[in-house]
């Protein structure tokens, strides 16, 4: 079964190809079958391969599709590497991807770009699969840029609106800034190792570099540059909220579950380098910690349901980065998986709400949907609970608790990280339940237009179950002690070392985390159900802070002033190419002299004789002065 691995990215590719070639002439039904079928089959094969992988205790499987290109000592294959890490990602991409495809059939049903939508979506899944299956960094880069393209196409899917196109370009260009760093990192890696094969690099790195080596640190920072771009972390985070211009399934698949976690994958995949570059690894953690706080603050102030979720995604990926930064590799991957479940769920549910209310995005215009849309309400509540890490029952609690615990008790953890993560957890549960209370409670402000069908409800329910039960595969040893996830990742990612004597405090940390999460819910309940006036008071009393957070800490303005405007200005002012002035001047000069000397041709004989005489005198005089 495992030799069918190549089919997993190929099927979505063929799906995309068929849909592109057939174009809009294809009946919707067929397009939907091709679009969902290709991903469904890929998911099925993933499950079968995963089963075989686990039962036969394979460590890694390698498959070369063809040799891509080879020059001098560079040899790059179109080849795949399957290990536990890629398997987890494969599972999330194909399975969650399939659910989102199903949902999209209902969601996009009346859209005239139906076929185009599924073509892009399939192409995206193909690129994402290549990214996580690549055995070398060039193929990974192909996937990396491929998902960037699809993200661009899908954010700008409704291209009639000028602002959607702007958001799409912004996303592509900003992530490409990070990609530049990543590319330079690849050049450096090749300069050092003369190969771009990931496994080879990871094997050779400890032999070549001692811990703290300068080159290793520089390379680790460059790779981090790529990761922060794709994963919307500080300082390249500001494209993601705007990316919400795309259809909701796109936000769920690309901007929550899969693409934006590519940075997490990259760092986890290249963990060997970060272990040799402690400084860079520390900065992964610092970036994660700061990002999770500032994005959380921004999420508190948004009114657009999808923008809250977007900032929440940035913040949750911040948690993953924090985990990577403290060497809690498998905790990061665990949180990635659980986050993919509950955040995809939240986006799809939010999408349903927005769809049902005629594209109303502002949650303060919603309200009272608890009764009107019970399925959406209950599933959204599940997802929200998981996001807010409601203790014991939700999967989010277990994945986030692990990070909190290791931020405190891990050997690379420290108090600052712990406090940041804890504060973030509080903020998370406040903004999450603010969303729940404002959207689903209170009185109905907009009438529900149409109700979702089964195609849209089933994915929600499946994801809701996963958002609850997903946590059972990894339970802390104070509560059941299940370690399926970390055992699975064990051969690929090193386990986290605990600080000496810290074990005993795990239960305390858990209690603190649980209390913080619940008190956040309580605060949201007081502010948005019991005494809504207090929330308005707070808002007006610190209006400036509110505005700053609402505008995403004004990073956009900063980049506009520093980069965008100077670039456009420079480009505009030199539209007619200043260099051409030089040549124009040359032409003008030539013409001027031509005209001037032409005037000497008067036809008057005595002037000519005069000229000849003067010339002769001049030459004679000169020959007297300049004696050879």
């Amino acid at each position: 079964m495992i030799h069918l691995l190549w089919l997993i990215p190929t099927l979505p590719f063929l799906g995309a190809l068929t849909l592109v070639l057939a174009g809009s002439s294809l009946p919707r039904r067929i397009a939907a079958i091709i679009g969902c079928g290709s991903i469904g089959l890929a998911a099925l094969i993933t499950l079968l391969i995963g089963y075989e992988f686990l039962t036969t205790h394979t460590r890694a499987y390698h498959d070369v599709a063809w040799s891509w290109f080879a020059v001098a000592d560079l040899s790059v294959g179109f080849s795949f590497h399957l290990d536990a890490l890629s398997l987890v990602f494969l599972f999330v991409i194909t399975f969650v991807g399939f659910l989102i495809h199903l949902y999209s059939v209902g969601f996009m049903h009346d859209d005239e770009g139906f076929t185009r939508f599924f073509a892009y979506l399939n192409l995206f899944v193909c690129a994402m699969l290549l990214l996580v299956l690549a055995d070398n960094l060039v193929l990974l880069y192909l996937g990396w840029e491929g998902v960037g393209l699809c993200s661009y196409l899908l954010i700008g899917f409704w291209y009639d609106e000028e602002k959607n196109g702007y958001a799409a370009r912004k996303a592509f260009i900003m992530t490409r800034v990070g990609d530049t760093a990543l590319a330079i990192g690849l050049f450096m890696l090749f300069g050092v190792f003369h190969t771009l094969d990931i496994q080879e690099i990871l094997t050779k790195a400890p032999q070549l570099w001692s811990p703290g080596s300068q080159t290793a640190t520089l390379i680790a920072f460059l790779l981090l540059g790529g990761a922060v771009g794709k994963s919307a972390q500080l300082p390249l985070q500001s494209w993601l909220p705007d990316a919400m211009a795309g259809p909701s399934p796109v936000s769920a698949l690309i901007h929550a579950a899969t693409m934006v976690t590519a940075g997490v994958y990259l760092i986890a995949r290249m963990h060997g380098i970060y272990e040799l570059a402690p400084l860079a690894q520390l900065w992964v953690g610092i970036i994660g910690a700061i990002t999770l706080l500032i994005a959380g603050c921004s999420a508190l102030t948004q009114n657009d349901l999808k923008r809250v979720l977007a900032y929440s995604t940035i913040s949750q990926i911040g948690y993953m980065f924090l985990a990577l930064g403290i060497g809690a590799w498998s905790a990061a991957v665990f949180h990635f998986m659980i986050h993919a479940f509950f955040k995809a769920l939240l986006f799809l549910a939010a999408g349903t709400v927005i769809w049902a209310l005629h594209h109303e995005h502002d949650m303060f215009n919603m309200g009272g949907l608890r009764k009107r849309m019970p399925v959406v309400y209950w599933t959204f509540l599940t997802g929200a609970g998981s996001l807010a890490a409601i203790p014991l029952v939700t999967a989010g609690f277990y994945s986030k608790d692990q990070i909190l615990w290791l931020a405190w008790g891990g050997a690379q953890g420290n108090l600052w990280f712990f406090v940041a993560a804890l504060t973030g957890a509080f903020i998370t549960s406040v903004y999450t339940f603010r969303m729940v209370f404002v959207t689903f409670f209170g009185e109905e402000k907009t009438h529900v237009g149409h109700h979702p069908g089964r195609l849209m409800n089933v994915p929600l329910i499946v994801l809701a179950v996963l958002s609850l039960a997903g946590g059972l595969i990894e339970l802390p040893h104070t509560l059941g002690h299940v370690t399926l996830m970390s055992d699975l990742l064990g051969p690929v990612l090193p386990s986290t070392v605990l600080r000496a004597g810290a074990e005993s405090s795990e239960i305390v940390i858990q209690l603190i985390a649980a209390t913080v999460a619940l008190s956040g819910v309580l605060l949201a309940y007081i502010l948005y159900i019991v005494k809504p006036a207090v929330a308005d008071d707070i808002k007006s009393s610190c209006y400036e802070v509110h505005r700053l957070w609402y505008a995403g800490w004004r990073f956009d303005d900063l980049y506009n002033v520093l980069i965008v405007r100077p670039f456009v200005w420079l480009s505009q002012i030199n539209k007619h190419d200043v260099i051409d002035r030089f040549y124009a001047g040359l032409v003008a000069g030539t013409e001027y002299f031509g005209r001037t000397f032409a005037r000497t041709q008067t036809g008057v004989l005595r002037w000519y004789i005069m000229g000849i005489t003067a010339g002769a005198v001049l030459i004679l005089a000169l020959s007297l002065v300049i004696n050879p």
Binding site: V20, G23, S24, W66, S67, W68, F69, A70, V71, A72, L74, F78, V138, Y141, L142, E145, G146, L149, Y152, G156, Y159, D160, E162, G165, A168, R169, F172, I173, R176, V177, D179, T180, A183, I184, L186, F187, M188, F190, G191, F567, V568, L570, S571, Q572, N574, K575, D577, I579, D580, F582, Y583
Partner: protein, 508 residues
């Protein structure tokens, strides 16, 4: 002899097409088309049959050496190796589309047009295979003058100005090359008392470093203007935007490549020492070109002018790669010559197609065309993505190899060049946005691509994708040539090579 035949077919085809046009323009077009197709088949046949001799150290795949003016040491010496083979294949392949492109566009003086078109192609093909420097100059002129007519007679409104500008830039720089060729001829003759223009004899001509420097600059003048390198690029936006579609197509696709080819084939091997000295400057010029071209492209509103500036940017990679002196970078350059020809050529075809429909090249007057021309939009997307270097398309292989190979020679310049890709993203996406996305508020009749246009663009798209996924065949074909020129540079003293990286870094 087959090389001679290929050029003769084009020249004779041109004359014949010119004559026949007095009776029937359709037959004139058919004759022109037939002659390029015939050449394409010939070169395809050679390529298919030449697996073995592409190994390093092999002699020429095909050669013809006839005495021309023996008393001056001028011979009609043509030879084909892997690099020339790729370039010839490219020339004839694109030549087919150049004829197809003009099928409807050119409606007056059709015979003379096709005569010029085929002679330009003949001149370009000649440059790609000649091994006699006198002959090189001859072919250099053969491609120049017909192109002048192509722009000046069938171009757009400001065609006279553009044609003159093109002619003076290339002619003046070509004359400098002629001077350098003559200089080399006499230096070699004085030393060995064998007066010859033969390439292989002139290699390793002993001369003073100073003289070698000056002679190299003569060659560089011609090649850098043709490429073009900033600040010698200003003829290009005018020539590109004013030329008829087939003219822009050949200019961007083929004529610029003669500059790159000249660098690899002539300038570097003839003057290895000065070339190494010049290398940091060459790489710097390349990087400046990449960034400058990209910034300029961003503000252009004339679609053809915009694409012209992207050419300037992309040709910067050629400079960067050629003067990095690594095998990987040089392979990247060869790849860039091919993929840029296809992707940029295709963008000019699209510009031409839009012009035919709207009678404007101003992208501010376009927008939202996706709905009405989905096929054109999808094809454009492919080429726009190629232009921003998306992996999976041929241009990525070219740029990636170039940058990867240039890294050891100059990390700083390579980093800046890599950052130029962000600017490339900005201008490329702007093309998509202004033409195909946004609100459609136009009343033009805007049919999607016709069958003839599809016949041109679909093969180009397929080739650019194939080159992105299966580039090895091209790399193998060029390998022998690339390895030789790489080795030549390796013979220069180590300290000089060592300085390269430092100097490259210091130029910031």
């Amino acid at each position: 002899m087959i090389l001679l035949w290929m050029i003769v077919i084009l020249m004779a085809g041109g004359v014949l097409a010119g004559i026949v046009a007095t009776w029937s323009t359709v037959w004139c077009r058919i004759i022109a088309l037939t002659s390029v197709i015939l050449d394409t088949l010939l070169i395809g046949w050679i390529w298919a049959g030449q697996e073995v001799s592409l190994q390093p150290g092999a002699t020429w795949i095909a050669e013809v050496n006839l005495p021309w003016i023996p008393s001056f040491g001028i011979s009609f010496h043509l030879a084909l190796d892997g690099l020339s083979l790729l370039m010839l294949a490219l020339t004839f392949f694109l030549g087919i589309f150049a004829v197809l492109l003009s099928w409807n566009e050119i409606q007056y003086r059709t015979g003379f047009f096709h005569f010029n078109l085929l002679w330009v192609l003949a001149g370009i093909a000649g440059v790609f295979v000649t091994l006699d420097l006198f002959l090189l100059y001859f072919f250099w002129e053969v491609m120049l003058i017909p192109m002048y007519f192509l722009i000046g007679i069938w171009g757009h409104a400001n065609r006279q100005y553009a044609a003159y500008k093109f002619f003076i830039f290339t002619q003046a720089s070509g004359l400098l090359m002629l001077l350098a060729i003559l200089g080399l001829y006499f230096v070699h003759g004085n030393q060995t008392s064998v007066y010859t223009f033969e390439y292989s004899d002139l290699l390793n001509t002993p001369m003073s470093a100073d003289l070698a420097r000056w002679l190299m600059l003569g060659f560089l003048a011609a090649f850098l203007v043709k490429l073009p390198v900033v600040p010698f690029h200003t003829w290009l936006p005018d020539a590109h935007s004013e030329a008829p579609t087939a003219g822009s197509f050949i200019l961007a696709g083929l004529m610029l490549k003669t500059g790159a080819y000249g660098l690899i084939r002539f300038a570097l091997p003839l003057f290895p020492g000065p070339a190494v000295e010049f290398a940091p400057w060459g790489m710097l010029l390349g990087t400046v070109g990449i960034v400058y071209g990209a910034v300029q492209a961003f503000s252009q509103t004339d679609l053809k002018r915009l694409v012209a500036y992207t050419s300037v940017s992309h040709m910067g990679f050629v400079m960067l790669g050629v003067f990095a002196f690594t095998e990987i970078a040089l392979q990247g350059v060869v790849m860039q010559m091919i993929t840029h020809a296809i992707s940029t050529g295709a963008l000019f075809v699209l510009a031409g197609a839009l012009y035919e429909r709207m009678h404007t090249r101003d992208i501010l007057q376009m927008g939202g065309f996706w709905k009405r021309t989905p096929f054109m939009a999808t094809v454009s997307l492919v080429f726009v993505m190629a232009s921003l270097g998306l992996p999976g398309l041929g241009n990525f292989i070219a740029e990636f190899l170039t940058l990867l190979g240039a890294w050891p020679a100059s990390p700083v310049l390579t980093a800046i060049a890599t950052a130029g890709l962000v600017a490339a993203t900005a201008y490329s996406l702007r093309i998509m946005q202004k033409i195909f996305l946004g609100k459609d508020s136009h009343t033009h009749v805007l049919p999607d691509l016709s069958l003839r246009e599809k016949l041109i663009l679909v093969p180009l798209a397929v080739v650019i994708i194939m080159l992105g996924l299966f580039p090895q065949r091209v790399i193998d074909t060029a390998r022998a040539t690339v390895e030789i020129s790489d080795k030549q540079q390796n013979t220069t003293p180590v300290p000089v090579r060592g300085m390269l990286s430092e100097k490259g870094g210091n130029h910031e």
